[in-house]
């Protein structure tokens, strides 16, 4: 009897699938509100003087691309728009390819940006926190070559960059460890340099406490929603914003099922109480 009342979970999967697929085909255009943490990241970039150098670390792999890639794309676009020089690093091996993919995507929009002058990819370095800590002492010793094997001293962008003192802010696109947490612990808490980041929705509750009065993190881009907000702030709509309709409708379906499940639970409980009284 109890079994008959339960919905086959495959119907839920199908509904979620349709709830996500249909809004991707037929645009609904639900509004995207800008939240404080995203605004803080945007202002961090806006307030960085032109010609400054920033460090963006790609600490994720293709498994987290749907959430973190749009963030990286919008952030780099914003930096390029503001003529900020960018040094890429990766604490995750596949982060190197993630950075390369973003640069390739942006190349047609910024044809004048030159490798080695406006941006450079230093590649992956194993070691996590130890590597991050060592960059604070001597970046050129940790990364003597870029990802293609050329000595970094050859590139104009690296002439005045020796450690965190020469970097306006550090931004980590993080899917886990090593990631934002390690950058906060070293760059923000040890070297007192502005640190910000973007993370997956799953890790957001663990990272959000660092956005506090102590400014351990200057803003945070958490999940696809934040990526969509940043796309709107930068003024270039991308995959995150187009995915938000699907996200909202999928959430409505989940909320509906949770509500139905709870109503059934209370009804069942009340019925049991009444039966006991009889």
């Amino acid at each position: 009897m109890a079994k008959r009342k339960q919905i086959d979970r495959r119907w839920i999967f199908l509904l979620i699938f349709l709830g996500v697929a249909l809004p991707l085909i037929i645009k609904v255009g639900l509004p995207v509100e800008i939240t404080k943490n995203v605004q803080m990241v945007y202002e961090l970039v806006e307030n960085t003087p032109k010609g400054s150098t920033v460090l963006i670390s790609f600490d994720y792999d293709p498994a987290s691309m749907p959430e973190l890639h749009p963030m990286g794309l919008s952030l780099l676009r914003h930096c390029f728009q503001r003529d900020i020089k960018v040094v890429f690093t990766a604490m995750w091996p596949m982060g190197v390819q993630m950075a390369e993919d973003i640069v390739t995507t942006l190349k047609p929009d910024f044809p004048k940006k030159k490798y080695g002058v406006d941006y450079i990819n230093l590649g992956f370095k194993a070691g996590g926190m130890v590597t991050i800590q060592s960059i604070g002492k001597d970046l050129k010793k940790i990364f003597p070559e870029d990802m293609y094997g050329s000595p970094i001293t050859e590139f104009p962008i690296m002439q005045d960059v020796n450690n965190y003192n020469n970097i306006a802010f550090v931004f980590s696109l993080s899917a886990g460890a090593p990631g934002i947490k390690e950058w906060v612990q070293i760059v923000s808490d040890k070297y007192n340099r502005p640190t910000s980041g973007g993370c997956t929705g799953v890790s957001a509750p663990a990272i959000l406490p660092y956005v506090n009065e102590q400014k351990q993190l200057t803003g945070l881009l958490a999940g696809l929603k934040a990526a969509a907000e940043y796309e709107n702030l930068v003024g270039k709509i991308g995959s995150a914003t187009s995915g938000m309709d699907a996200q909202s409708i999928a959430h409505l379906i989940i909320i509906s099922f949770i509500t139905i499940g709870n109503i059934n639970y209370w009804r069942k409980k009340n019925k049991q109480k009444k039966d006991r009284k009889k």
């Binding site: 947490k181 509750p205 696809l224």
Partner: protein, 213 residues
């Protein structure tokens, strides 16, 4: 030729996406094949990556190109070899030395960093006057931060029985914890749906070309 391989890659991606999704209906041989291919490819990829991106640039190249400045790297290399002794049962005891060294140094490095970032700075961030500055929404937010932190900590104090005023405070702490678990669940749901969106954007865009980039 490049176009052929690009198209082949997209079709392969679509096939494996459906193969993995097919598990949602029920376990089946196609899903099993996709799972095994993923495990095998990952193992092969990481093996090659470790050799070419870690061992060669960080150990082999520095030692062979400039031995006098990099001879110290022989010590971690020996420790690495000692770690591999674990694979032979008779010599597995040798691996305990490098493992001990790793545990010791990691504890030392992490202890200080976590103490400063996750304990001292986090505590300092809650020692605020909630009524200074900001709108009433921000004041309520700051009050919630202080009350939530204090009552949450009280809940985890187990040396006194949770009854009376102490028990009520702990109960408020539980409510704050429940709300935070709910928020964490919400973020997790959002992240999982985001992954599905990513896959569907690939299927509908790159594969079927129904939606634009």
């Amino acid at each position: 030729m490049i176009q052929f391989f690009e198209a082949f890659g997209i079709w392969l991606g679509a096939f494996f996406t459906f193969a993995i999704f097919s598990f949602l209906y029920k376990d089946n041989p196609v899903y099993k094949i996709a799972e095994q291919v993923f495990v095998g490819l990952s193992a092969g990829y990481w093996f090659v990556y470790t050799i070419f991106s870690i061992i060669i640039p960080n150990l082999y190249n520095p030692i062979t190109q400039n031995f006098s400045e990099n001879w110290i790297k022989i010590i971690p290399a020996i420790l690495g070899v000692m770690m591999l002794m674990r694979l032979i049962p008779k010599t597995s005891w040798i691996s305990r030395f490098p493992i001990s060294l790793v545990i010791g140094t990691t504890s030392g490095v992490l202890f200080l960093r976590y103490l400063k970032s996750d304990v001292i700075n986090q505590m300092t961030a809650t020692m605020i006057n909630p009524f200074i500055g900001g709108s009433w929404v921000e004041i309520i937010g700051k009050l919630m931060l202080v009350i939530g932190t204090l009552t949450g900590v009280v809940y985890f104090y187990f040396s006194k029985k949770h009854e009376g005023a102490f028990g009520s405070t702990a109960r408020i702490g539980i409510y704050f914890l429940m709300i935070s678990f709910g928020a964490a669940f919400g973020y997790t749901a959002m992240a999982r749906i985001s992954l599905l969106i990513g896959r569907l954007q690939f299927l509908l865009g790159d594969w079927l070309k129904i939606i634009g980039p």
